[in-house]
Symmetry: C2
Subunit: 118 residues, 2 copies
């Protein structure tokens, strides 16, 4: 039961689109991720996903519209909704997801990674 | 599926220790709460609880030690661990809890409230 400083943890993250686990509660992980560039279109069949932007400006493309998130804003992408994060400049975001969630959801490719603790 | 600005939501909250629901994902609510003064000692039998401090400095008293959280810091209080939040000055915090969580945990008293959406 430790107090976690989010900025400290982000300073240890070098890679983009590699979520790191910073906490676990109930059946979920709280993850920290740096995003830059465009990710892949994907969905999570059974899991809603929280994106909370700590730094920067994040675009989440949906099939029918775009969502823009500034610092201090969040959105919850419901299960089954295709989305694609895009960050022109580096974005730092908190994710909250069930432990079973894969970063690329229903898509398995070279960007699929198993999250490690930080 | 709306983008939520956390500061905007906090500006609408007047009362202390009345968590308001700002989002739901899976079986959990993301809640916003303003804290000032000392709460009550309680525990949550079956639910871990996240405290993420957005503004101010929060003390969470445990039976064996004190946890201090500054802005941008979080802690997860595991199920069954007695805790008592204390805020000398106003604190704004994000909570993440299963939908079943009562604010006063195992204690039912005049401070027990059912969370409302904001």
């Amino acid at each position: 039961m430790n107090v976690i400083n989010i900025a400290d943890k982000f300073s240890q993250i070098q890679e983009y689109y590699r979520p790191r686990i910073a906490g676990e509660l109930n059946d979920a992980y709280l993850k920290l991720v740096k995003l830059k560039g465009e990710f892949v279109w994907h969905q999570h069949e059974n899991e809603d996903e929280l994106f909370l932007v700590v730094k920067g400006r994040l675009l989440i493309k949906l099939r029918d519209r775009n969502l823009w998130l500034d610092e201090g804003e969040f959105v919850i992408i419901p299960k089954g909704v295709e989305h694609c994060p895009v960050a022109d400049e580096e974005v730092q975001a908190i994710l909250l997801e069930p432990k079973s969630t894969l970063n690329t959801g229903n898509v398995l490719n070279e960007r699929t990674v198993a999250a490690q603790w930080i």
